[in-house]
């Protein structure tokens, strides 16, 4: 009910865009869900560390979900991100273990991501091949190349990188006192800072930079964008490059979290990222969505999983069944909200 009220109040003052409306709904639902979890489950949910844990575990997911948001706003899809993360992690781990240094490894991660992004962008926008097929091939290639490097899981043995992995930002005032009286500060990994920077950067680019605004135009209506003189091909090309670049960065962040390369790393990350973007209010049809919404989408998706585990549904199938149910709820909600708005708009248009 409260959602409708805020929606209507805002409409009177200044029309809320579809992007803002869907994002507001997600953020409200996230906070409501978290509050309910705090009240009913208590325990870990009362500690700020819970939020930091969510962020620590999902920093890489947040980054790739941002990349997917960019591609999806442009009306495309990129399902290669999980594979690219896997490939990046594996090649960086092997490089570090054979005597490489961290800075070059980071550059390598970004380079691999960028290479995939450039190739996808070229094939999709300049050769006009369907994005699903191109990025599917990208995923297959990345997964196959990962197992070519090594079939067995590889652990990082590089001392400097291990130190980097262990270094965490401690926030004492958000900590809690353990049973033995010691203060345990809240810990946040460096990857989270990178992820938050990415979210903010993408948000600002999409909001304020010309290319960002053009992306919405291209995703909303390609023909109109073309007639307005926007270089549609280049904008779409850049959206895939951004997604590739971000998945490279996500790969490095993933490695900082797990510290091991594995052929099944980030399996299914692409679908989780797509689901997060959708929950955050991005439409696959293009033209609607933003990075802040996606950020909350990731949090909502991962919080529900945590709630299921904490609330005692121990059977292994409940996690994904609840995730599916929640996804269904959000998708239906968006569909209903947008179609009602569409009807209202056309009614207004008919009146005037």
């Amino acid at each position: 009910m409260s959602l409708n009220k805020t929606g209507k109040a805002a409409v009177r003052r200044e029309p809320l865009t579809d992007t803002q409306l869907l994002m507001t709904i997600t953020i409200c639902i996230f906070f409501a869900m978290y509050a309910i979890a705090m009240l009913t489950l208590g325990g870990g949910f009362l500690r700020p560390q819970q939020v930091f844990d969510l962020l620590n575990d999902n920093a890489a997911l947040i980054i790739v979900a941002c990349g997917l948001t960019v591609v999806m706003i442009g009306g495309g899809i990129d399902i290669s991100v999980g594979g690219v993360i896997g490939l990046t992690v594996m090649s960086c781990v092997m490089y570090l273990n054979n005597g490489g240094n961290i800075a070059t490894a980071a550059l390598m991660a970004i380079g691999i991501g960028l290479a995939f992004g450039l190739l996808h962008g070229f094939l999709v926008s300049y050769l006009e091949i369907q994005p699903f097929i191109v990025t599917l091939a990208g995923m297959f290639f990345a997964r196959g190349a990962t197992t070519m490097i090594s079939v067995n899981p590889q652990k990082v043995t590089h001392e400097g990188f291990k130190a980097l992995m262990k270094s965490k930002i401690e926030i004492p005032w958000l900590g809690y006192t353990a049973k033995n009286g010691n203060l345990i500060p809240a810990r946040m990994e460096i990857g989270v800072i990178i992820a938050l920077c990415c979210v903010l950067l993408i948000f600002l680019i999409l909001k304020n930079v010309r290319h960002g605004r053009n992306l919405y135009a291209v995703g909303g209506n390609q023909q109109s964008a073309l007639m307005l003189g926007i270089n549609v091909k280049r904008i779409r090309f850049l959206s895939y490059v951004t997604s590739g670049l971000l998945s490279g960065i996500a790969g490095f962040v993933f490695m900082m979290h797990t510290g091991a390369g594995n052929a099944t790393n980030a399996a299914g990350a692409e679908m989780n990222a797509i689901a997060s973007s959708i929950i955050g209010g991005t439409l696959l049809t293009g033209g609607v969505g933003n990075a802040i919404g996606t950020f909350f989408g990731v949090l909502t998706l991962t919080t529900i999983k945590k709630i299921v585990v904490t609330s005692g549904l121990k059977d292994p199938w409940w996690q994904s069944i609840t995730t599916g149910a929640m996804l269904c709820f959000f998708i239906l909600l968006q569909s209903v909200v947008l179609s009602r708005r569409g009807k209202k708009r056309s009614a207004d248009a008919a009146k005037s």
């Binding site: 009306g75 495309g76 899809i77 094939l123 300049y126 050769l127 006009e128 091949i129 369907q130 994005p131 699903f132 097929i133 191109v134 599917l136 091939a137 990208g138 995923m139 297959f140 290639f141 997964r143 196959g144 190349a145 197992t147 070519m148 079939v151 390609q222 023909q223 052929a263 679908m271 797509i274 689901a275 959708i278 439409l283 696959l284 049809t285 059977d315 292994p316 199938w317 409940w318 996690q319 994904s320 069944i321 995730t323 599916g324 149910a325 996804l327 269904c328 998708i331 239906l332 569909s335 209903v336 179609s339």
Partner: protein, 360 residues
């Protein structure tokens, strides 16, 4: 994107089969040069008595059975909705679980239980198809997003149906479906694909399904104005895909005589969509050729078997597959096609200047 794709991808005609046929030809040629005995067929004594045919050709056609069945259904959904169902693998796991669950209920597996099991698994798969179809047709959600729900939770539902176990079923009837009927030298899944194909061909021959599906896919508004119930057509395409999923699930379960919710037809949704695209069908909907998709399914399997025969480790197959896919789609790309056509004109020397102007 959709409009550009539709205008430039000439789908529906015989010309659409050009690229897949070239691909098949190249693959056969490559294999014959590499190993002339690649396609030879041997006769070996089968497990259940009698003589059976074996060889790479048989294993290609046999191995692609599930994929071919799914690709047929996927073509219809793609054509009607302009999007793909990414939940077919998960739905097949559910269908397989129901199949096994019903089979395990009585002590002895008879023909009657088989029919009951197959019927119930068809009903369940059709229900899930209808669920996807309702989201797509009634709530107007993009097919990929709508089926993402079942993709996420489908395999868990399959796990839950069998109570967290991976039960096995052993029965001569199951063996007959999964491998060979005693006395028949050809693997049974091949006949099942044939039966499904003939059934679909008959449906297309005697109903307006093909015409209606294409018109809904090309222009939904125009189809509606012409009195076609587009919601119903979309729903129907998903329900038919559900039947295909049930069939594929049963073949998959019968092959191994067990249901493993995690690995049954893993990643088949990607291959099925690929088969549709390789077959020259537009992923944006509209005109379609089922035969193209079936050909696509066999190309994928032939590629896999070729790579296995070249001693490529099974984990690396994906990378090579990706390269071949990219080559295929680049060949089929409208931009590349146009460039090649221009290049031909240029070679023949027919007004190179005017060709240049047109391109500009």
């Amino acid at each position: 994107m959709r409009k550009a794709g539709k205008a430039s991808w000439k789908t529906g005609g015989i010309g659409q089969l050009m690229i897949p046929l070239i691909a098949v030809g190249l693959l056969i040629l490559f294999n014959l040069i590499r190993d002339p005995s690649f396609f030879s067929i041997h006769t070996t004594p089968g497990n259940s008595g009698g003589i059976v045919l074996t060889g790479n050709l048989i294993s290609i056609i046999n191995g692609a059975s599930e994929l071919a069945v799914l690709a047929m259904g996927m073509t219809l959904v793609t054509a009607a909705c302009g999007g793909q169902d990414i939940s077919v693998g998960a739905a097949a796991a559910i269908a397989g679980s129901v199949f096994v669950r019903v089979l395990k209920t009585p002590d002895v597996i008879t023909g009657g239980t088989m029919i009951l099991a197959f019927a119930s698994c068809c009903v369940v798969a059709m229900l899930f198809g209808a669920f996807n179809g309702t989201l797509v047709a009634v709530f107007r959600i993009q097919p990929m997003i709508a089926t993402l729900i079942l993709y996420t939770c489908g395999r868990s539902i399959a796990y839950w149906i069998n109570g967290g176990a991976t039960p096995t079923v052993s029965s001569p009837i199951i063996n007959a479906i999964g491998s060979y009927i005693p006395g028949v030298p050809i693997p049974t899944p091949i006949f099942i694909v044939l039966a499904v194909g003939i059934l679909l061909a008959l449906v297309f021959r005697f109903t307006n399904l093909r015409l209606y599906t294409q018109s809904v896919g090309i222009n939904q508004g125009a189809a509606k104005l012409n009195g076609i119930n587009s919601t119903m057509i979309k729903l129907l395409s998903f329900i038919i895909l559900g039947l295909c999923v049930a069939t594929a699930g049963c073949i998959g379960v019968s092959r191994l005589s067990l249901i493993n919710h995690e690995t049954l037809l893993l990643d088949v949704e990607m291959d099925a969509i690929l088969a549709v695209a390789i077959g020259g069908n537009s992923l944006g909907g509209g005109k379609f050729r089922i035969s193209g998709s079936i050909l696509g399914a066999y190309i994928i399997q032939m590629l896999t078997i070729t790579l296995y025969a070249m001693k490529v480790p099974s984990t690396n197959v994906k990378a090579y597959k990706a390269i071949v896919i990219i080559l295929l789609v680049v060949m089929g790309s409208p931009v590349v096609k146009k460039k090649i056509a221009d290049f031909w004109k240029h070679l023949r020397g027919s007004h190179p200047a005017s060709v240049g102007k047109e391109a500009a």
